[in-house]
Symmetry: C2
């Protein structure tokens, strides 16, 4: 944790009614906050990721430019750096971990910006997958603070199908015998491998596998790809992985006292200029779901990524075409004037 900072959020009353005491939000910043604090980009993390996994797109020649912007990555709760099952002391340890909704998460992120940096305006919230869901939450929870959002391969509310996909992932992980009394006391080797194989079918498109695009990633066979990329990819603590799944499954910008579960109202309240970029072949965050959201948002454009990389179209570390698409799109979004007043 040496390369990031900790925001001591104190005793946080969660939506569940439980209090997480001495909550810690781990974050990292890139670039310099300018004098009028107008160059802020918030870049939340995706499922299983820590800032070190996602900061690759921060560079002058990449998607978020730290020579112009002050970029903050808040690590989501549950990811092992911020408060998570793996670092929570008794009596909220083991199966007692108090879950953070995405609303809980984003409200603490907003406190970080306000209390530590005195930031009142955010030029952009950019996020991929669960990060995109957090971008939507920023827009709905702080409509007067957020000027632009770029949700990439995400949604304002987790759809029922997406929920079911995650049920499968969760069931595979917890089929392991290490799952006892709502907790993994030992690492579930079989469960994590099963989870990875389940995820592999969802994470990329049918066409990706048909065209054997894993070859472009340097794998020697399909099985090599499944073992190294997928089984090797879920490095986090299994209890932490479950906590993040819970947050994902419950994600809903309207599930709070502001909107009372009225998604249309919550979408309509987003004042930010939104550039919503689903992957055309994403199997769980679909274009159609974003299309329905964008229709309810006052200042939103739907711009699907034309790609057969499935969900990974939105995380194009090894994919120059999708990278270029995102880079160009984000630059255009940042060039648009912010809504004032």
């Amino acid at each position: 944790m040496s390369d990031c900072q900790i925001f001591e959020a104190g005793d946080v009353v969660l939506q569940s009614g439980l209090t997480y005491r001495k909550a810690q939000l781990a974050y990292k910043t890139y670039g310099t906050l300018n004098a009028d604090k107008s160059n802020v980009i918030v870049y939340p993390t995706s499922y299983g990721a820590q800032h070190g996994d996602t900061e690759w797109l921060i560079a002058p020649d990449r998607i978020l430019d730290p020579t112009k912007y002050f970029i903050i990555i808040p690590n989501q709760f549950g990811n092992g750096l911020s408060s998570s099952p793996s670092n929570t002391p008794p009596p909220y340890d083991r199966g007692r971990y108090p879950q953070f909704t995405m609303t809980d998460q984003v409200r603490i992120q907003q406190r970080l910006l306000r209390e530590i940096f005195g930031i009142a305006k955010v030029a952009l919230v950019y996020g991929f997958s669960m990060g995109a869901q957090q971008a939507y939450h920023w827009g709905a929870l702080f409509p007067d603070m957020v000027e632009r959002i770029a949700p990439v391969c995400g949604s304002a509310r987790t759809t029922p199908h997406n929920f079911v996909f995650l049920e499968g992932v969760k069931a595979a992980l917890t089929a392991d015998q290490a799952w006892q009394d709502g907790w993994f006391a030992t690492p579930p080797v079989r469960g994590k491998r099963a989870m990875a194989r389940v995820y592999a079918g969802w994470g990329l498109s049918q066409a990706f596998y048909r065209e054997e695009l894993w070859r472009k990633l340097g794998y020697s066979s399909l099985e090599d790809f499944l073992i190294v990329d997928w089984e090797g990819g879920f490095a986090r603590d299994a209890n932490d992985l479950l906590a993040m799944l819970w947050t994902w499954q419950q994600a809903d910008i309207s599930a709070n006292e502001l909107y009372g579960g009225n998604l249309k109202k919550a979408l309509g309240a987003i004042r930010a200029q939104a550039l919503v970029m689903p992957g055309e072949t994403d199997l769980y965050f679909t274009v159609e779901d974003n299309r329905r959201e964008v229709a309810q948002m006052p200042r939103a454009e739907l711009r699907p990524i034309p790609s057969i990389w499935g969900h990974r179209a939105g995380n194009p570390k090894t994919n120059p075409e999708d990278f270029a698409f995102l880079q160009k799109s984000v630059r255009e979004l940042l060039a648009q004037p912010a809504l004032r007043g």
Copy 2:
């Protein structure tokens, strides 16, 4: 097994080189074989199904009419009625079960027709899912014998993505601690539930869940649907379920000495009039995959089922629109003259 017959196939040399001794193919017939044996329909079984699960569509007012046709359902090997892990004696018991490829399976089915009934022509092979794959195999392995095929939600060869989807199902099932030494010595309760939840996301479309079509099936909530329909749906022996997955993963009409792995050649050899009916929203047997196959087949029409029921569009027991589509399509196919000579 009282309501079906057994074809004693004897000692069968499988593609693997192993011999399955005293192989038994369980089958059931419906209707009457006519004098010139020209009214034969073969209707193979789908994943996990036995004839009792699939015979619902055999009736004068349904899809296959037993007052006109002599319909044979051959139970696939591994389904618990035909030779399967659950009924195979030593030394091929437990983890030693000799797997049947789909080519092995269909060749034994053909022997049943020839040796027991003296049948030389098949008017139609109709099948759903793995049954559709068997229909393709019939067409490619016995091109002079099969007049028509109607593969519904299936493919000539299991695609790489479909293979990966099944890897997830398999990994979820075998994450259970009951999986030891390549065998389930006791029923894997967690594993089967996990398998069911993984499958649930794949078996229906994103739109099915968005529109909550499970309500039409009489379920009171999404969770009720997942528990009763999915967890309750995988009733077969877990070792049998794995054997059928193996057959599915390896399915390939060209993986035999006739075609040497050349799929284009195998597809081109199918002389049957083919009506290929994928579900428009099927997530693992996709329209695009069938489109590529049909382009290589001399007498084939692609006719996607316009449905948001995903893979279940092809098994429309509770879905009048898709049922009507299939019924009409199969009647049209049967009305087409067979290729002669």
